[in-house]
C-alpha cells in the first residue's frame, strides 16, 4: 500500500547529489529522487533538533510558518549572464522589463516560446556592470541553458555556475537570524540582492523565496555550503525542511510549480502571470509568443488558474477532474494536497473563465466521486513579504 508514498517523479534514479548530501543524511533526511538529484523530502530529527522540530512534512511546514526553515535548493540551476547590452539581450527571451531592472534588484520572469507557452519560470537579478544572475528550475536547467545560449547575441555570455550551492532560509524569524550573522541582511528590501559575507562565507543574498514568508535565498560556493548550513542550524530558531514542506508551503502561497501549474501548453495570461509582462514590453510586444499573448489579452482565453477549496478532508491531487454544477467539464487540478496551516485540503488548477470567480461552486472528481468544492482566491495563506 505504500508504493505511492513518495512524490511522483519521472526520473528513474538519482544521478546527482547536492553539496549537502552527507549533511542531510546525518540529520535524518529521507532522500528521494527529484529532477535527477537525491534530495531530502522530509527529516526524522533526533536530539536537540527534534526538540525544535519533530520532523515530517507537517512539522517542517509549520516550523517555517512559525520560525525559520532551512531548505537546500542546490539542485536548481544558477548561471551568470554578462556582456554588452546583456539586459536588452535577455529581453529577447523574456516578457519582463529587464532594461528597467535596477542594480541590486531581482525580478521573477518567464522564458516564453513562440506559441505563448512557458518554457520555464526564473529569477533574474541585476548585479550591476552588465551582469545578471539567474536561477532556473532544476528539471529545466539543461534545456534553459541551451535555449538561452542559442538566443543570446555574440558578446553576451552565459556561464552556468555548477560549483555553487543554493540555500533558502524562510520564515518570520529568517531575517533576524541572518542579521545576527550579517547585519546588512536586514537592510535588503523585498527582491533586493547583495553580496554579503555570512559567517565568513561570501554569499550572494536575495530577499525572496518560495514559501510566501519573508526570507532569503543564498547562493554560495559549494565547498562552503556545509559551513553555512551549520552556522544557520546553530541558531535556535532554525530547522531544516525538505521538499515535501517546500511543496505544501508554495501551494498555500499560490505559487506555481513548473511542470504542474505552468508548462509549454499554458500561457502567462491563463496562469494569471500577466503581471510579469513589463509595461514597456506591452507596447513593443517584442518577446517570444507576444502575438499570441497579446491576442489573448485583447480578445479572450478559455481558462484561468484558480485556487480550489474542496469541502471535507479528502485532498484533490494533480490531474483530478473539475466539473461544473451542471455536470459539464470545468477543468483540471494541477497541484493539490493538504494545507497544514488551514488543516484542510487545497488545490490549484485551471477552470473555464465563466467558473473562475472566487466563490463559484464546482466539484472535484476524487476516486470517481464528485466532491463539492469552491473556487478560491490565491494565495490560500497571505504572503508575509517585507514591504
Amino acid at each position: 500500500m505504500i508504493e505511492n508514498a513518495l512524490p511522483d517523479d519521472p526520473t528513474p534514479k538519482p544521478v546527482r547529489t547536492t553539496p549537502l548530501d552527507d549533511w542531510h543524511r546525518r540529520l535524518g533526511a529521507r532522500m528521494v529522487a527529484f529532477a535527477g538529484y537525491a534530495m531530502p523530502v522530509q527529516y526524522d530529527f533526533t536530539g536537540d533538533l527534534a526538540a525544535r522540530c519533530r520532523g515530517g512534512i507537517v512539522a517542517e511546514h509549520l516550523h517555517c510558518r512559525a520560525q525559520a526553515a532551512l531548505f537546500d535548493v542546490s539542485h536548481m540551476g544558477q548561471a551568470m549572464l554578462s556582456g554588452t547590452n546583456v539586459a536588452a539581450a535577455l529581453e529577447r527571451l523574456v516578457p519582463g522589463d529587464i532594461i528597467g531592472l535596477k542594480p541590486d534588484r531581482q525580478r521573477y520572469s518567464l522564458l516564453t516560446n513562440e506559441a505563448g507557452g512557458i518554457l520555464d519560470d526564473l529569477m533574474i537579478a541585476h548585479l550591476g556592470n552588465d551582469r545578471f544572475f539567474i536561477v532556473v528550475n532544476a528539471s529545466r536547467k539543461e534545456d534553459d541553458f541551451t535555449h538561452l545560449a542559442a538566443g543570446l547575441p555574440a558578446g553576451v555570455t552565459l556561464a552556468p555556475l555548477e560549483d555553487r550551492a543554493l540555500l533558502a532560509l524562510q520564515g518570520p524569524a529568517a531575517i533576524s537570524v541572518l542579521a545576527r550573522l550579517a547585519p546588512q541582511v536586514a537592510a535588503l528590501p523585498f527582491m533586493g540582492v547583495a553580496a554579503i559575507d555570512i559567517a565568513g562565507v561570501a554569499c550572494l543574498v536575495s530577499r525572496s523565496g518560495y514559501t510566501g514568508e519573508d526570507g532569503c535565498e543564498i547562493s554560495l560556493p559549494a565547498d562552503r555550503a556545509e559551513a553555512l548550513a551549520d552556522a544557520l542550524l546553530a541558531q535556535p530558531e532554525v530547522a531544516p525542511a525538505g521538499l515535501g514542506a517546500r511543496d505544501s508551503l508554495r501551494l498555500e502561497a499560490g505559487l506555481c510549480l513548473y511542470g504542474n501549474d505552468i508548462d509549454e501548453l499554458t500561457s502567462p495570461v491563463e496562469a494569471g502571470l500577466t503581471w510579469v509582462i513589463g509595461r514597456r514590453r506591452r507596447e513593443a510586444w517584442d518577446f517570444p509568443g507576444a502575438a499570441v499573448i497579446r491576442d489573448q489579452l485583447d480578445n479572450t482565453f478559455p481558462r484561468l488558474r484558480v485556487g480550489i477549496r474542496p469541502e471535507g478532508r479528502a485532498p484533490a491531487r494533480a490531474l483530478t477532474d473539475i466539473v461544473a454544477g451542471d455536470g459539464t467539464a470545468a477543468g483540471v487540478v494541477t497541484s493539490g494536497g493538504f494545507s497544514p496551516t488551514l488543516n484542510a485540503p487545497i488545490a490549484m488548477g485551471y477552470v473555464r473563465r465563466d467558473l473562475a470567480t472566487p466563490g463559484t461552486p464546482v466539484f472535484v472528481v476524487v476516486r470517481g466521486k464528485p466532491l463539492p468544492a469552491t473556487v478560491a482566491a490565491l494565495p490560500f495563506v497571505p504572503h508575509r513579504y517585507v514591504r
Binding site: 500500500m1 512524490p7 512534512i57 505544501s248 485532498p315
Partner: protein
Amino acid sequence: MPTKRSDQRYTKEHEWVTLDGDIVTVGITDHAQDQLGDVVFVELPELGRDVIAGEACAVVESVKAASDIYAPLTGKVVETNSEITDDPSLVNSDAEGEGWFFRLEIDDTAAFEALLDADAYNEYLETLD
C-alpha cells in the same frame, strides 16, 4: 521497531490483523504509517459491504500521497473506526492500536492463520531496506 504481538498477523501490503471469534480487526502497521508520513485523510468502507481478500476497500492519504488499503481476508464489514476519520493523526500516533481501520466478520478463520506472523513480517520488512 515495536514488539509485534504473537497473536497478530500481517500482510505484505503492510496491514495488521487480529482475530476475536470470527471478527478480525484491520489496520496499517507502524512501518506503514512511518513510510506514509502525516496522515490527513481516511476513507473507510460502508458497513455491511462484502469484501474479497485483496480488494481495495479503504483509502489513507498523507500530505503527499494517497494509498489504498486492501481487505486482508474475505468477509463482511461489521464496524469502522470513525475516530480516525475525525482525527487521522491517530493513525500515526497509534497505528496498531487506536488507529485501527475496520472490522470484518469472516467465514474462514484458517485464512487468518495463513497470513504472515510477526517474525515473517519482520523478515519481509528487512528485504525492503
